[in-house]
């Protein structure tokens, strides 16, 4: 079973089905990339370049806007996307950000 699940064909992120180590392979129609950090279960990784200001798409639906350029293979989370509705409050040390 692949370590990543793509939920909808329009998505630009894939979801980790288990803890995936840095350097693991993630494949999409844009190419094959390496994860840039450890990725915890159910966290997201970009499977193509996402430019600052682009929508992040999961379930085929927008889940927020990229707040910086995101490289393929990078962890996509609270540090690089923002809600289009209300701000996300989180505790940085517990947000599962292994790459910051």
């Amino acid at each position: 079973m692949s370590a990543f699940l793509k939920l909808h064909r329009d998505d630009n992120v894939q979801v980790a089905l288990r803890l995936v180590p840095r350097g693991a392979r993630i494949t999409s129609e844009s190419g094959t990339f390496e994860t840039q950090s450890d990725v915890a279960m159910a966290h997201k990784v970009a499977d193509r370049p996402i430019a600052k200001g682009d929508l992040v798409i999961k379930y085929g639906m927008p889940i927020g806007t990229a707040s910086e350029d995101i490289a393929p293979g990078a962890h996509v989370h609270v540090h690089n996307i923002v809600s289009r509705y209300t701000a996300t409050h989180y505790r940085k040390e517990e947000a599962g950000l292994t790459d910051v």
Binding site: A42, I63, V78, Y85, A95
Partner: protein, 400 residues
């Protein structure tokens, strides 16, 4: 072939799956005394409910009236300090009118804590005897009201537990049950796709309006319905959490919108609008998961499906909670608190349909009397706080 079990027939005609004595404090000042009474019945179905505030509130009054006449409740003991504003005589008369035994103890007139605990314990013992021979009646899925909430969500919730619960909801609705999903603050971002499922265009407009109301309300408060642990579990924004939460409503058409305490008029799928009407007051709409569960129960839910990723351990007073764990790591860590392991879907060991079938089977077993994990552990969480609502609009309910 649908399952049939023996329910408890109330004199108002409603059918319950539990036969509980509710002990209700009517202000925080009476909470300890009521709790001491309940503690004398550790092995019986005696549950503590109550309202802590001293100021009057129409919502709290309605909620307590609905809870005191819930089909799972056979009798009620009210415990009042004496000087609080809660309208105890109206509550007692509503419960009495439903045919249930009800007694009121006023601590200031009963001789204080010790005397009230003694008297209350004797009254509850008497009530347990009186409801022991309540008539039994055939009951099936079409008699059920089932709620669903998610709490402690993470990135697995929207992949396994919530979609499996959604498939179970589809089957329950097809078999005539009334199913309720809720937390409009966690449907932000889904309002347009949800509105397309409404049975009428007018209802679709109401669905959008109540999510807009939630977005406004939470933006005034400065926080979305999003806890720190959601981010730990891989959720990044409220709209991502919402999309995962929304799928627990399944695929059935949406029949109506209810507000807390409104009982669905017939089978079908209902959205509960939990965000207060009018200007923002009294703080956050539901301060924790059990506040949502209590509102489901006040709307007649015989039981609630609770889908968790991070791992909740709660149950509830009055109606059983079936806990569905979306995350396989969490399931292993908290297996004794869980009823269903939907994490097996994440690991590729079971399909969504397998787990949806397991949830359905567990619902029928719970209705027939089997204890859920939280019931067996003795969980009886309950919380009720201040809110204010306008009545639901004319387009919100289906014609019966």
């Amino acid at each position: 072939m649908s399952e049939v079990w023996q329910g408890f027939l109330r004199s108002d005609g409603r059918k319950g799956i539990r036969n509980t004595v509710a002990v209700a404090y009517l202000v925080e000042c009476a909470h300890f005394v009521a709790d001491e009474i309940v503690r004398n019945f550790r092995d019986a179905e005696v549950h503590l409910i109550g309202f802590p505030g001293c100021f009057p509130n129409d919502y709290a009054q309605k909620m307590m009236e609905r809870l005191g006449t819930h089909p799972n409740v056979g009798a009620v003991l009210l415990v009042s300090l004496g000087c609080e504003s809660f309208n105890r005589s109206k509550l007692a008369s509503v419960i009495a009118a439903s045919g249930r035994p009800v007694e009121t103890l006023v601590i200031q007139k009963t001789g204080g804590s010790a005397a009230t605990i003694d008297k209350g314990t004797a009254l509850v013992r008497d009530m347990l005897d009186r409801i022991a021979d309540v008539p039994r009646v055939d009951m099936g899925v079409s008699d059920l009201v089932v709620g669903t909430v998610c709490g402690g969500s993470d990135g697995t919730s929207g992949l396994s537990g919530n979609p499996a619960a959604g498939r179970t909801f589809d089957r329950l609705v097809a078999e005539g049950a009334a199913c309720i999903f809720e937390e409009t603050g966690e449907l932000i971002g889904c309002e347009h796709i949800m509105a397309e499922r409404a049975v009428t265009p007018e209802l679709g407009a109401e669905l959008k309006a109540c999510v807009d109301k939630a977005a406004r309300y939470y933006s005034v408060l400065g926080y979305g319905s999003f806890a720190a642990g959601n981010a730990t579990g891989g959720l990044s924004t409220i709209e991502e959490k919402s999309l995962g939460a929304y799928v627990k409503s399944g695929d059935a058409p949406i029949s109506g919108i209810i507000k807390p305490g409104d009982v669905p008029p017939k089978g079908g799928l209902y959205l509960m609008d939990v965000v207060p009407d009018g200007e923002v007051r009294f703080g956050f709409p539901n301060i924790s998961d059990n506040a949502e569960i209590v509102e489901m129960i006040a709307s007649g839910a015989h039981m609630t499906l609770f889908i968790t990723g991070r791992g909740s351990v709660v149950g509830s007073a009055i109606s059983p909670v079936i806990k569905i764990c979306a995350n396989p790591d969490t399931y292993r860590a908290l297996a004794g608190d869980m009823d269903i392991n939907a994490g097996a879907i994440i690991e590729g060991k079971q399909s969504l349909d397998d787990v949806a079938g397991e949830i359905y089977t567990r619902i029928c077993a719970t209705a027939a009397g089997t204890a859920t994990a939280s019931e067996a552990l003795g969980h009886q969480e309950f919380i009720l706080t201040y809110k204010s609502f306008d009545p639901i609009g004319p387009a919100c309910l289906p014609t019966v």
